[in-house]
């Protein structure tokens, strides 16, 4: 089936707009794609037990939606409609290609209680979505592969879109995804929700991938824009799904709280020209109060459910910022305390850097600069652009202009994001202006 294969490579067929008359349907299909892709794929994978075949069937289902919905109207339950069509397509394939399938290593899943009616067709259960997520984020896959597979299979991004997000060639990303799928099938990474003993650790791996997608979207390391809304939307969707399916688990609850609280400030993080706006300069009246309330409620929920996780503590930091009336009135002591706690749960140089920033706010720029001292030799931060940028900011506030200028130059060497560079260049000009005056 050359057409179907081409579809799978080129991304969803519905992206090709077919005239204004279909606009409403195109939007409905796009919405269904964004909201239900992962669930439809998960339901289909259980049936065919092969990721590529399932993807092909789901692509076909979305293409068919685009063809038939203009005539029949958008169904009340697009997700159910799409699952039915994709699974019917899968059944057709299974009947026609049984010989070819016998040569395929099929996904391993736990034994299902056979349905006396039709033993070949496991019913769809909400767990299917979790199976898909846990398989994509299996620790036996490289971190890059986990992120790529999750974006491709769970969020439904095309290979080209995933490649763009991580600035690699599309062919490189396609090879990475193919290799990961092959490993899943050949090494028999099971299509299964881990048992209770392994769940916490495996869930951590999933949360890590979700956060990585989110931070990549929030602070695009390269490219013309700082915030990539598509990645942010994927991460939020994933976090919501995890929280919905595992409401008792504290880690996804804290993660969702964190994402929602940060996302509440998204509109104010860049100015009209797309340059980043520092927390201190953001227009707090434009922060999304409903989202903040939702995030705080989720945070309470996470903290009630068990001991604080790293995500809950990070969310607590975000909540202190979100609830502060002004930057100056932020409870910096509280934030330093939270970073102290976070350092115990998750001791990383980046957390230490954030703690130094908070300390610089509480006790003044000199204290912050002193706290950075020990990080200067930290190899993990040697090329971390925010370390130079933070040092530069403390030096600027101390009006030590020549040193500040050098630090801004350093930060500029390490940043490839156009929006961020614009900001740093502005600060560098300011510092050089002061040097010229002296």
């Amino acid at each position: 089936m050359p057409e179907a294969t081409a579809d799978a490579e080129d991304g969803p067929a519905f992206r090709a707009t077919r005239g204004a008359a279909h606009q409403a349907v195109v939007e409905a299909v796009a919405r269904a794609h964004r909201d239900h892709w992962g669930a439809v794929l998960a339901a289909t994978v259980r049936l065919v037990r092969d990721l590529d075949t399932a993807e092909e069937c789901v692509q076909d289902a979305y293409a068919q939606a685009l063809r038939t919905w203009p005539a029949t109207a958008v169904p009340d339950h697009p997700e159910a409609w799409l699952k039915t069509v994709a699974r019917n397509r899968a059944r057709d394939l299974l009947r026609r290609e049984s010989a070819w399938r016998r040569a395929l290593p099929l996904l391993v899943e736990e034994d299902l209680t056979p349905d006396p009616q039709d033993a070949d067709e496991p019913p769809f259960v909400p767990d299917d979505m979790l199976r898909l997520v846990f398989t994509c984020c299996h620790p036996a896959l490289s971190r890059d592969a986990r992120v790529a597979l999750t974006l491709r299979l769970v969020c439904g991004l095309s290979t080209a879109e995933v490649a763009r997000a991580f600035l690699v060639q599309e062919s490189t990303m396609a090879a990475r995804i193919t290799r990961a799928k092959k490993k899943i099938a050949t090494a028999r990474i099971p299509y299964r929700v881990p048992d209770a003993a392994d769940l916490p650790e495996r869930l951590s791996a999933v949360c890590e991938v979700v956060l990585l997608v989110f931070t990549t979207g929030e602070n695009a390391p390269v490219g013309p824009v700082l915030v990539r809304d598509d990645l942010v939307a994927c991460a939020l969707h994933l976090a919501r799904t995890l929280h919905r399916l595992l409401p008792e688990a504290t880690e996804p609850t804290g993660l969702l709280a964190l994402l929602v609280l940060i996302d509440a400030r998204r509109r104010t993080r860049v100015d009209a020209e797309g340059r980043p706006v520092l927390l201190a300069d953001q227009d707090r009246s434009r922060w999304d109060r409903d989202r903040i309330a939702e995030g705080v409620e989720l945070l309470d929920q996470a903290l009630r459910a068990g001991p604080p996780t790293r995500y809950a503590v990070q969310a607590a930091v975000a909540a202190v910022h979100a609830e502060a009336p002004t930057f100056e009135a932020t409870d910096w002591s509280e934030i330093v305390g939270l970073y102290d706690l976070l350092l115990r749960l998750w001791p990383t140089p980046v957390v230490e850097l954030n703690r130094a920033v908070a300390l610089g706010m509480r006790d003044g720029p000199q204290a912050g600069l002193d706290a950075l001292e020990s990080l200067a030799t930290e190899p993990a931060l040697a090329t971390y652009r925010y370390l130079s940028a933070t040092r530069a900011d403390f030096l600027r506030r101390l009006t030590r202009w020549p040193e500040a200028a050098t630090a801004y130059e350093e930060a500029l060497l390490l940043s490839d994001n156009d929006a961020e560079r614009g900001f740093l260049e502005g600060r560098l000009r300011e510092a050089r202006g002061h040097i010229a005056e002296q």
């Binding site: 290593p105 391993v108 299996h138 036996a140 050949t186 090494a187 028999r188 990474i189 099971p190 299964r192 881990p194 392994d198």
Partner: protein, 120 residues
């Protein structure tokens, strides 16, 4: 079910200098592994030191006679010290079993799991 090769790698010099306590811990790990795996172990073995290895490669001449040399194929600090061939339902099952080996908890060793090609 599928077959997997479990290869135990490690720093040979440090293996030679291992303390009796650590040796006992490693032995206990293998006993726990064997007990847990039961009939899933299709084959297993511990290799003698790499100094006892002999390697055959394509010979210098144009004949069919391979050249026989003393020593392992790869001259590396880390060598294969032992192996298991397992029959297991999936990778998670093998990872769980392999985690019983003390070699997975010491910095002088590591264990690699590779599926065997299925000739079906």
């Amino acid at each position: 079910m599928a077959k997997y090769m479990v290869l135990i790698y490690g720093d040979e010099q440090r293996w030679d200098a291992i303390s009796p306590e650590e040796m006992a811990e490693i032995d206990a790990g293998h006993r726990a592994f064997a007990q847990q795996a039961g009939p899933a172990v299709l084959a297993s073995g511990q290799l003698e030191s790499s100094a006892t290895a002999t390697t055959l490669r394509r010979g210098d001449g144009d004949g069919d006679t391979p050249s026989v040399t003393d020593g392992p194929f790869l001259e590396t600090k880390e060598v294969v010290g032992g192996f298991y061939v397992l029959d297991a339902p999936d990778l998670d099952a093998v990872v769980k079993l392999t985690g019983l080996l003390a070699e997975t908890r010491h910095d002088h060793s590591g264990v690699e799991i590779t599926p065997l090609v299925h000739h079906g």
